[in-house]
Symmetry: C2
Amino acid sequence: MSEHKIRNMEEFAALSGLSRPTVSKYFNDPGSVRPTTRKRIEDALERYDFRPNIYAMNQNRSLTKNVGIVVPYLADPFFAEIARIIELRCIEAGFSPILYSAHGEQKLEKEILEGLTALKPAGVFLAPLGRLSDRGAIERFCRDVPTVLFDSNIEDMGEAFVGSDNFSFVQQTVEYLCRTGAPPCFFEMRTPANPNANKRRKAYLQIMDAAGLEPHVIKVDGEGWGFEEIGRRGAHEVIATGRLPTDTVLCSNDRLAIGFLSACYERGLRVGRGDGCAIRVASHDDHPFSRFTCPSLTTAAHEYEAVADKCMNTLFSLIEAGGRFAAREETLIPARLILRASA
Amino acid sequence: MSEHKIRNMEEFAALSGLSRPTVSKYFNDPGSVRPTTRKRIEDALERYDFRPNIYAMNQNRSLTKNVGIVVPYLADPFFAEIARIIELRCIEAGFSPILYSAHGEQKLEKEILEGLTALKPAGVFLAPLGRLSDRGAIERFCRDVPTVLFDSNIEDMGEAFVGSDNFSFVQQTVEYLCRTGAPPCFFEMRTPANPNANKRRKAYLQIMDAAGLEPHVIKVDGEGWGFEEIGRRGAHEVIATGRLPTDTVLCSNDRLAIGFLSACYERGLRVGRGDGCAIRVASHDDHPFSRFTCPSLTTAAHEYEAVADKCMNTLFSLIEAGGRFAAREETLIPARLILRASA
DNA sequence: ATCCTTAATTAACGCGCGTAAAGTTTTTTG
DNA sequence: CAAAAAACTTTACGCGCGTTAATTAAGGAT
C-alpha cells in the first residue's frame, strides 16, 4: 500500500491507467468491465486503497445501496436478535444496512423515518411501534420509500408485511397445555403497544371457545418497555389476591413470562409440569433468554431465520419490481412449539 | 403543507423570499441568521417541508454531524443498553448517531470502520471486539477519525477511553462475599474475548492475595457470544465433577452467571444466602435481566448513565479540540454494588 | 487482413450545496 | 442622524461523481 493519499476518482483512474468513466462503471458494477480492466482496477485498489466519496456518489442517484432497518426498541433482545439476522442478510446481499431504534417513542420513530427518506434507501424494513406510531408519518414514508413491514402489521401500510402467525402461536401453546393439564388463563398487559398482543388474545379467546372451554384473560397494569417488571409485579398481585383461576398460565410474550417466573420464585411457587409443581407457565416468542429462565420456558418460537429470509426476499422482489407491488403481500410464518421445563 | 415538491435549496430560498446562501447558512446554524430571517425560513419550512440533500451537503464538508457508535455484539443486552443511552444522548446533542454491530466478527468490525471513515463523522464511540480486533485496522481508523473508545480498552488507541474500573467491581463483590460468608472462587471463560475479563481475574487474584486468602479460578471452555450457554454447561460440569472448591461463586460477568444459575436450578441446587441454600452466586455488570433471574442476581453494576454521559462529554471536548487530545484521556468509573437474593 | 462487436476514451454537462468576494440593505450604536 | 457593524444579496466557482454522446481502440470471427 502506497503512502500517497488519493483525492478522487480521477486521480485513482490515472494511477490505474484507465479513464474515470470506466472506473466509475466498475464501482457501480464490477462485472460491467472487461476482466482484464477489472483486474487492473482491483490491483490498483490493493495498492492505493481508494474509496469513492459516498456523498458524491449518492448525490445524483435516485436510490442508493442503503437499506434501513427500523425497530421500536432495540434493547429488547427479541428485536436485537431479529435485527441482527436481517442485518447480516443485508450485508451478504451487498447492501449497507443502517439500523435504527425508535426507543419506544413516537417522536423518534417519526424523525427516523423523515431522516431515512432523505437517505434515499433502496428499501426499508420497518417494525413499527404499533399503537404509538404516527400513522400519517408512516403512510407518508411508505409513499416515498419501498417498505417491508415486519413484526407489527399496520393495515395497508407498506408494500408487504412479514410476520408471525399469531393464531398459530397461541393454537400450539393452548393445545399443548390443554392436552397435558388444566386449560390456561391468558396473562397480558392491559394496554399493549403491539398489535400482536391483541391478535394473541383474540386467538386465545377463539380457541378456547372452539374447545368449549371458559377463557380467562388476566390484564395487568404497566406502561413502557419494562415488560419483565410489569409481569413480575402483575404476577405478585394476581397471585396474592387469589385471582389466578387455574394453575396454568399462558403469557402473551416471553418477557412478561420472565417476570412471572421471577415472581413465582420469589413467592416460593414451584413452576413446571412435574410433581410438586404448583403452577405451569408457558409463553410466546422464544426470547433469546427463555432457555435460561428457572425453570426454562416452554414457548412458541418465532422462526427467526425464516422471518429474516422472507423479509430479504420480499425486499429483493420489491426493489426489482421498482418499489411497488401490484397488491400488498402478507406473509405469516407459523410458530414452532418448544417444550421446556416450565409447562 | 403545500402539495408542490421542492427540488433544491434555490427553489426553497425563492419561496421563503431569501437568497440561497442565507438559507444555507441557516441550515448549518439556525442561530447564525437574524431572528426575523430565521422565522421566515421556519415558516416556509412548515409550509413546504423541504430538507437539504444530505449527500450534497456533506460532500464538501470535512466533517459531518454524524456520530458513529460501534459495539462488538448488539444482541448482547449489555451493549444494547449502553448503546441505547449513548444514542439518546447524541440525539439530544443534535448529532445523528449511526449504530453498528460487529456481530462478533473481526471482518465486520474492520469493514464497519472502513465504511465509517468514508462517512466523515464528527466522532465515533468504539467498543472494540477486544482480542479479536484487527489492531492495524483500528489504529488506521483512529488516525482518520476522532475516536472515543469505551467498554474495552486497547492500549494507546483512540484519543480517550471511558470504561469501568474493573478493580472496583471485583473489590466490592469480593469484599462483600468474604464479609458475609466463604471467600469466592472466580468463574470465567477460558479464552475471554474481552480485556475486561482479564482485568477482573487479575483484580480477583490481587484482592484475594492481599487478604491472605487462597484464590481459585475456574475456567470453562466455550467460544462465541453464547455466554449463558457456556456458563450453564460449565457450571454443570464443574459441579458434577466436584471441582467447586467453595460454596461461593463469583462469575466474571452476569451472562455467565445467568447460565450458572440456570444450571443450579436444573440440578436442584438452591442458590442464595439464606438457610437451606447450597451455594451463593454473584457477578458483575448488572445486566438488564439480572433483576429477573431466579434468584435475582447480586452484582456490581455499571453506572450506565454515567458512562454514557462521560462518553458524550469526552467526545464533545474532543470535537472542540479539533479531534486530537494532547494526551490520551482515560476514565474509569467505579461500580455500584447491588445486593439481591443470589448472594 | 477485414469486418464487426464490444469496451474504453475524451469531452462535457449536471447534481445540490458549500463557500468566498463584492456589493447592498438593514440594524445598531454613539 | 450619521457612521459603523451586521446581515443579506448577487455572482461565481468548486466539490466528486454520474452520465451521455461521439470517438477511438481492442479483441474475435470470418
